[in-house]
């Protein structure tokens, strides 16, 4: 079943066309990877799907479960099930991770017509999730992302993803700045979330992450377009041969 459908998507940033006709369908249960050199529009694609200001969609469609995502605000998209794991999670001084997570979780629950979770239940839930992810649970007492190491920030992103249980998770260069141990923790967290009713879009420059999060489909992006698609073996080819062939094209 098609979960996320991107049809001929064109988008500008500051008047310049960055996405030049992206089409991509992610079915429930699938893990897709987009690879490509820097500056080809990979992060633009993730920001456009998530609904960040400053990106102007000039044509095309993005549908989640057949609902028009482009008509929704960023927070509505998130409540509908889009989760963007940030390349650079933002530090928010003065806001505890716990308060932030509870607010986000309850926003999602309200949107789904569920009762809000109370403080005790929430703590129990977070403790269970942090334990499963191998994250120290005192992380939730700290100010959100403030003073977190690169690895802690990415693990916190996975914790958020685990709590919010998205329909489609987009991981934007999640591997950047991670050592191999942190990468494994993050990959384990993502793999545990793989399920028949959830889709993933992993955006990465390097093959390394894909050793741990094995994709069903790999796409090569260059010059604002998807220029090649294949199975997981395509990632290995790219690692061996580089992007030169696609950039020349």
């Amino acid at each position: 079943m098609a979960l996320l459908k991107i049809k001929n998507l064109h988008a500008n940033v500051a008047g310049k066309e960055i996405l030049k006709g992206i089409s991509l369908t992610i079915n429930a249960g699938e893990m897709h990877a987009i690879m490509g050199p820097n500056g080809t529009g990979k992060s633009t694609l993730s920001n456009v799907i998530a609904g960040r200001d400053g990106y102007e969609v000039t044509s095309g469609e993005v549908l989640l479960d057949d609902n028009n995502l482009l008509a929704m605000s960023a927070d509505e998209r998130a409540r509908a099930g889009v989760f963007l794991a940030f390349q650079y999670p933002v530090e928010i001084p003065g806001v505890s991770t716990s308060n932030f997570l509870k607010t986000a979780l309850n926003a999602k629950r309200r949107a789904a017509g569920l009762p809000e979770i109370d403080a005790m239940e929430f703590l129990k839930l977070v403790k269970a999730k942090t334990k499963a992810l191998g994250i120290p649970d005192d992380i939730i007492k700290r100010q959100l992302n403030v003073g977190f190491s690169g690895g802690e920030k990415k693990r916190a992103e996975v914790l958020q993803m685990t709590l919010l249980e998205p329909r489609i998770a987009i991981l934007d260069e999640t591997d950047s700045g991670l050592d191999i141990d942190a990468l494994k923790v993050v990959a384990d967290g993502v793999n545990n979330l793989r399920s028949a009713d959830r889709g993933f879009l992993v955006i990465t420059h390097y093959q390394r992450l894909l050793n741990y999060i094995v994709p069903d489909h790999v796409h090569v992006m260059s010059g604002g377009r998807i220029v090649a698609s294949g199975g997981k073996e395509l990632a290995l080819t790219l690692e061996a041969e580089g992007y030169a062939k696609y950039q020349a094209a």
């Binding site: 605000s73 960023a74 998130a78 940030f86 933002v90 003065g94 806001v95 607010t103 926003a107």
Partner: protein, 437 residues
């Protein structure tokens, strides 16, 4: 001195004749004469440097009567939204005058009203005006017309905090009141004091409280003040503290004004460091809207070295409000090993507000650490998007970010139960704002 004041004041002979419920003891009459001479030329306008951002030109146009003469003021209860401070002794002043019927019993406490103290004890002569100089215009005005207040003389450790609730209420005429609070400590004594200043709707009033704090050697005074304004009142408060060796003076001042607020609040705090090893923290937060004007003016005077002072101020401004921070830091020539820090940050929630920030560092010693920081800006769009990407609606996201912004200042409140009370008042302000916008 008086010639630099360009604004006439509305406290002429007619006002003076009706003010002054204190006994006419000789020392007080003499002090009042000096005070009246100081303000004979008027109240400070924009040409007086210290009052450049908060000139009292408009104030001088209001015909105030002494609060004691306002016979149509009827306050029979403390408003329910005044927070309860756990375990505290409640002391209520209405228009600057002690109200026994609304206060807890003072029996057995080191606490008297100013009227009682002046009538019954001779040592008031050395206590009133010991710390607060008449060269400060609002101190002079207060001294000239003070009618009541509190005297707290702490001998040991006061285990119960004192909660002063000051209610301003004008009847059919604008009123002015000038309460004086005098806090003295014996060596090693300690006191926590919480103050809630509110106004009832009606005609404008001028609250002109002056607080003198004498912190003896090894003594500690912690004072937490909140001022809430909804109308067009003037709250011009001056605190002067003198701190002896190894003494602690911690002050946190909060100023709140709703979207209908159009008044002026100035919280002016002077601390004189007179000994080594003292700890001084003067911090605060303000959240204002409407056309409210809020001014924090601080002067920390390190006369002796080997002491630390710290100031953390944060302001959130909405509507067309105006914030002022003037922070003067003086380090005397011999005050080596002084460690003094100050920061003021303001957050704008709309395009209308303005802030004037004036740090003044006068450092005459060479072996010192002094740092100051200032920043003004709007909410960060990356932070807002991060929250949106987690499903948090824009209004809630803004509230969380504003709370987070203020948290750094609120964290300076050393007493946890007070911190909870103040944080709740801040949160309530943010919620009201959400409803108003």
């Amino acid at each position: 001195m008086a010639t630099s004041f360009i604004t006439a004041h509305p406290f002429g002979d007619a006002y003076a004749a009706r003010a002054g419920a204190l006994p006419a003891v000789a020392w007080l009459e003499s002090l009042r004469r000096f005070a009246r001479a100081e303000i004979a030329g008027g109240l400070p306008g924009a040409q007086v440097e210290e009052w450049r951002f908060t000139p009292l030109t408009q104030l001088a146009k209001i015909g105030f009567i002494p609060a004691a003469s306002a016979d149509d003021v009827d306050v029979t209860a403390v408003p329910l939204d005044v927070p309860v401070v756990p375990g505290a002794v409640r002391v209520v002043l209405v228009n600057g005058v002690y109200r026994a019927d609304l206060s807890d019993s003072l029996d057995g406490l080191d606490l008297r009203t100013l009227r009682d103290a002046v009538s019954s004890s001779k040592d008031m002569e050395s206590a009133v005006g010991r710390v607060a100089p008449l060269s400060l215009p609002m101190v002079a005005l207060n001294t000239a017309f003070m009618e009541d207040g509190l005297v707290i003389a702490v001998r040991g450790s006061v285990t119960r905090p004192v909660h002063i609730i000051s209610i301003g209420a004008a009847g059919s005429s604008p009123v002015a009141f000038h309460p004086r609070v005098v806090i003295t400590t014996e060596p090693g004594a300690s006191l926590s004091i919480v103050e809630t200043h509110i106004g009832l709707p009606g005609q404008p009033f001028l609250a002109n409280p002056v607080t003198e704090v004498f912190v003896a050697e090894d003594a500690a005074v912690r004072r937490f003040v909140s001022v809430t304004e909804e109308g067009d009142a003037y709250h011009l408060a001056t605190t002067v503290a003198s701190v002896a060796s190894r003494g602690t003076f911690e002050a946190f001042h909060m100023g709140l004004g709703g979207h209908k607020a159009e008044g002026t609040t100035r919280q002016e705090i002077h601390v004189v460091v007179n000994g080594e090893g003292t700890k001084v923290n003067v911090s605060g937060a303000y959240a204002i809207a409407g056309t409210m004007h809020h001014d924090f003016t601080t002067v920390i005077n390190h006369r002796v070295g080997g002491s630390a002072s710290r100031q953390v101020f944060k302001g959130v401004l909405d509507g067309r409000s105006h914030g002022v921070y003037q922070g003067r830091l003086r380090v005397a020539p011999d005050a080596q090993k002084t460690d003094a820090r100050q920061v003021h940050k303001a957050l704008f929630l709309a395009h209308g507000p303005a802030v004037d920030c004036k740090p003044e560092l006068e450092i005459d010693a060479d072996d010192v650490q002094c740092a100051h920081g200032a920043a003004t800006g709007a909410l960060d769009s990356d932070q807002l998007f991060y929250m949106a990407a987690r499903g948090i609606d824009p209004e809630t996201a803004r509230a969380l970010l504003v709370e987070g912004f203020l948290a750094e200042a609120i964290a300076e409140i050393g007493d946890e139960s007070v911190r909870v009370v103040f944080a709740a008042q801040m949160a309530a302000w943010l919620q009201r704002r959400g409803g108003a916008s």
